[in-house]
């Protein structure tokens, strides 16, 4: 076998494995086929669209936070998406957290500080399930990475509810959503299009809200994405140049051998 042929066969096999095998192993989503959306943070040059993340925060706080927690994100982290200290204090100040014990050995409540993590709407998982017909609303801090399909899945789920007249029948307390594995989800349709009045004046629609909150949740799961993609570009460019130089040196060293 000539080296060239070996390489070609090797590459083809690798590509086959990469496409079939791993996609099947890890991408297995049991819901309806997702439509790929365009996201500001897609691709090598992708970055989070700040204004979309901020609008998404608004949707999150006004709608989703009534039922979901976001336990790995602290209010102080909002500096990363362009809020200043006073704004963050104001946001945190709307919530109460339990703290203590104090010097008298008693627990007390106080307003949340920038250093606190997003306050959960529930005291614990039992209460969360009890308040939602026994279905636990998952924490959303990692949901973007925790579901096959990522952002497309969240968007699909939020916009995928059908109207009252759906012909799909699901059990009492469940709602039909083709993107959810099994098709029957315990979360009632959360977005209708008039849920928020955007602070930046953008006209609200269901699609707009879904896009924005999905962008926000993607940031929440992968806050270092911008830094990662920026650094990656520099490192890879450096390595490509280095490889070219090393290849030239290798040729030079080996010139007399063959």
């Amino acid at each position: 076998m000539t080296p060239a042929r070996t390489w070609i066969i090797g590459t083809v096999l690798t590509v086959i494995v990469a496409i079939t095998n791993i996609g099947i192993a890890n991408g297995a989503s049991d819901g309806a086929h997702l439509t790929a959306q365009r996201w500001s943070f897609d691709g090598i040059f992708g970055r989070f669209d700040r204004t979309a993340v901020q609008r998404g925060l608004q949707v999150y706080l006004e709608v989703c936070a009534n039922c979901h927690s976001l336990e790995y994100v602290a209010y102080r982290n909002l500096t990363e998406i362009g809020y200043n200290e006073n704004q963050i204090k104001a946001i945190a100040g709307q919530y109460e957290v339990e703290d203590g014990p104090n010097n008298d050995g008693e627990m007390f409540t106080r307003t949340a500080q920038p250093s606190d993590y997003f306050v959960s709407p529930y005291a614990n998982a039992m209460e969360a399930a009890a308040m939602n017909n026994g279905a636990l609303p998952p924490d959303l801090s990692l949901i973007y990475k925790a579901r096959a399909g990522g952002a497309d899945y969240i968007y699909g789920l939020l916009t995928g509810y059908e109207g009252e007249e759906t012909e799909h029948s699901v059990a009492e307390g469940l709602y039909y959503n083709p993107y959810f594995p099994g098709g029957a989800i315990a979360m009632p349709k959360p977005l209708y299009g008039d849920d928020v009045e955007y602070a930046d004046g953008t006209t609200a629609s269901m699609e707009q809200e879904a896009r924005d909150v999905t962008t926000f949740l993607s940031w929440a799961a992968e806050p270092k994405l911008d830094a990662r993609k920026k650094l990656g570009l520099k490192v890879l460019l450096f390595l490509i140049v280095l490889s070219a130089l090393l290849f030239a040196s290798k040729r030079k060293v080996w010139r007399d051998i063959h």
Binding site: N21, A25, N26, G232, L239, W254
Partner: protein
């Protein structure tokens, strides 16, 4: 001038008492290497470098990681969010694990193609297989550490394998777990061993190289080196070639780290472990899939129940490689001169890929059947074809020397070699 000669004197003084510099010089600089090695020979040094990357990133992770069921997942998240460049360290380590297997699998298939396992390199081959087994144990336990859903359930499924052992199986499993289910004691011991085993691997790598340097590297012709015309010193020829290979390899690895860091991972592992919720599909990491397929392919055989038979088949599929030097009956090493073996070699590659794909699928329907056929063929390859083909195959003539084959390949036959032939 006085400075450098001063340094030289110190080195000489030390080397006279502990000849470590002489040793390094012998094994990295003077070391005579066949001059016809192709790029498939880059993967050995790459494997060594990936091992170093894993150890360095692993030690940094361990400084921030908490091996406790209540804190492990959170501590990994804090590495990702709060530790400076923690995301980079973790993504390097997670993707480095996959890269390690890519490199080592290529390295092994290189050995299979060019007959590097044959006399006198059987012990080199064995040490390599021991490294593979240790790596598998290490990677399996490492995958449990972030304590996500796949961590927990993979640990449960794989440790349950041991319960298939007759009579003592249950006892062994309980002992491995340190309890009656995968729990905190399991996580603690996995962390301890995950830290330890890579250093054992370093030790076996030394034995691997020691045995290798006894007779030197094999080469694409598979014939022995016959003199100085066949070889070049390792430095600078192979140091520069390996550096170039490393640089290209890093482009691929870092493209994953920076642009698709979770592509090879499973989404469920970003969900905290929950013993009460079983994931819809429990699949191991991609590098275990062929073995997983063999485990699940075997049905009940006579009085042996399927689970036990599967376990035996899976372990045998690796152990069989230890006796490969004696199963292969051909006196010729390289597949270049073995037309039949070359065919079945590529067939084996395809077979292992089919096993990998069927390992990723639920064990039913056509994939279960394909998995079974591929499992049977895997064993036929080693147990029947290897002994048989070596005896029957019409082989091609070997070149007189490495030097001669290099000249033939580059088409620069000198009058001297032409004369020898005519």
């Amino acid at each position: 001038m006085s400075n450098s000669s001063m340094g030289k004197k110190v080195v000489q003084w030390f080397d006279y008492r502990l000849p470590i510099f002489t040793f390094m010089h012998h094994s990295l600089v003077d070391y005579q290497t066949p001059k016809n090695l192709n790029y498939w020979w880059n993967f050995g040094s790459l494997a060594g470098i990936v091992l170093v990357i894993q150890i360095i990133t692993g030690i940094v992770l361990a400084m921030h990681y908490t091996p406790h069921v209540d804190h492990a997942f959170d501590s990994v998240e804090s590495i990702m969010r709060d530790v400076n460049y923690g995301w980079l360290i973790r993504y390097l380590h997670a993707n480095g694990g996959s890269a390690f297997f890519v490199v080592v699998y290529i390295h092994i298939f290189r050995g299979l193609y060019f007959g590097s396992y044959k006399s006198p390199r059987e012990v080199v081959w064995w040490m390599g297989l021991i490294i593979l087994l240790l790596m598998m144990a290490t990677a399996f336990m490492g995958y449990v550490l972030p304590w996500g859903q796949m961590s927990f359930w993979a640990a449960t499924v794989i440790t349950n394998i041991f319960s298939a052992i007759p009579l003592v199986g249950e006892t062994i499993t309980t002992w491995l777990w340190g309890g009656f289910a995968v729990g905190n004691p399991t996580l603690n011991r996995f962390f301890s061993l995950h830290y330890l085993l890579p250093f054992v691997v370093v030790g076996v790598v030394f034995l691997h190289l020691w045995a290798l340097h006894r007779f030197g590297s094999n080469n694409p012709t598979g014939i022995d080196t016959k003199g100085p015309k066949d070889t070049v010193p390792f430095h600078p020829y192979y140091t520069i070639k390996d550096l170039f290979g490393l640089s290209v390899f890093l482009i691929v690895l870092l493209a994953f780290v920076f642009y698709a860091p979770n592509y090879l991972g499973h989404p469920d592992n970003y969900v905290k472990a929950n013993p009460l919720v079983t994931p819809a599909h429990i699949v191991p990491e991609w590098y275990f899939l062929p073995f997983y397929a063999i485990l699940r392919a075997v049905p009940d055989i006579w009085f042996v129940e399927a689970k036990l038979a599967g376990v035996i088949a899976m372990f045998t599929s690796i152990l069989i490689l230890f006796v490969l030097p004696w199963l292969d009956s051909s006196p010729i090493r390289s597949a270049r001169y073995r037309p039949w073996y070359k065919q079945i070699f590529w067939f084996l590659v395809i077979d292992v890929i089919v096993l990998g794909i069927s390992g990723a699928k639920p064990p039913e329907g056509v994939w279960l059947i394909l998995g079974r056929v591929a499992t049977v063929y895997y064993f036929i390859h080693f147990l029947i074809l290897m002994p048989l083909i070596g005896r029957l195959e019409p082989t091609k003539p070997l070149p007189g020397s490495i030097d001669e084959s290099v000249r033939q390949e580059s088409g620069t036959q000198t009058s001297e070699t032409t004369r020898k032939h005519s």
